[in-house]
Symmetry: C2
Subunit: 163 residues, 2 copies
């Protein structure tokens, strides 16, 4: 864990979120990504907020935008060593992005119930995953054999990058 001032970093996430709602860019969600500098200090790598309305893009969440900016700033898809601050606990999409990018730790403000109360579906989406029968309802398997052939083609590529 980075030795840092959690409240100060959450303040920045709050500032981001407030900018977003003031300008009607999306929901009240701001995110900050930090990593440890050479003297042990926290370096801010990315700051972003929800811009679903501004961008007309359902994937434009605060955490997603911060992760994409951090990948660009550090020129890597691997954010190992980074920590993320966010005003609301990540939804499944952002949780997945945090997993894929190897972010070490997440500090969040509001929990799933808080976010549900202001009209967002995060909790419902997690429940869909946990009740896997429901998750499958509108997910239909087709052409598995041909897709398995594709996977085999992928495995057979020699010297591919480590991913």
């Amino acid at each position: 864990m980075l030795f840092t001032d959690h409240e100060a970093l959450m303040n920045l996430a709050l500032e981001e979120a407030k900018e977003g709602i003031t300008n009607n860019e999306g929901g009240p969600f701001g995110a900050i990504i930090v990593k440890e500098g050479s003297n042990g200090e926290a370096i801010i790598v990315a700051r972003a907020h929800n811009q679903v309305l501004k961008d007309n893009d359902s994937t434009s969440h605060g955490e997603m935008n911060a992760i994409r900016k951090a990948c660009k700033a550090l020129n890597t898809f691997n954010l190992k060593g980074c920590e993320l601050y966010t005003t609301g606990i990540p939804c499944p999409m952002c949780f997945g992005a945090i997993c894929w990018s190897n972010i070490d730790k997440v500090y969040y403000g509001c929990n799933l119930e808080d976010t549900e109360k202001i009209g967002f579906g995060d909790k419902l989406f997690f429940e869909k995953i946990k009740q896997s029968k429901k998750y499958e309802d509108n997910f239909i398997e087709i052409s598995r054999d041909r897709c398995l052939d594709l996977y085999q083609d992928y495995l057979d590529i020699h010297g591919k990058a480590d991913y």
Copy 2:
């Protein structure tokens, strides 16, 4: 459900995926988004593939890229009425994006176990969500009161867009 040729659409997803792995852009994952045209035919709204390596961006999955393109093409964050074809069942990130964008149905080729066998963490990430204790391990709640104030500020905005 759209009345359409599922195999033909999966073929396009496979083509996308093959283009991606041939050029070492990322994993073997292609995605197609379709919607119903005025004569009941399937109109291709977006096609994309995994470009995590090419973009150096952990969020650049086939489904994510297809959703972002579809939002842009249709000029909306709401993809209600659209269906998605993908060579591998969506990970939690892409599942979340599918939920947020209101995509009606998903046709996938390979399942989670298939994708695990070629070295990707999708199944593990779903298990982290299902075992919520583990999900919480590196997620830490801080500053909830101030973030709740932010949520209240959001609720208090009059005339905000419906989101």
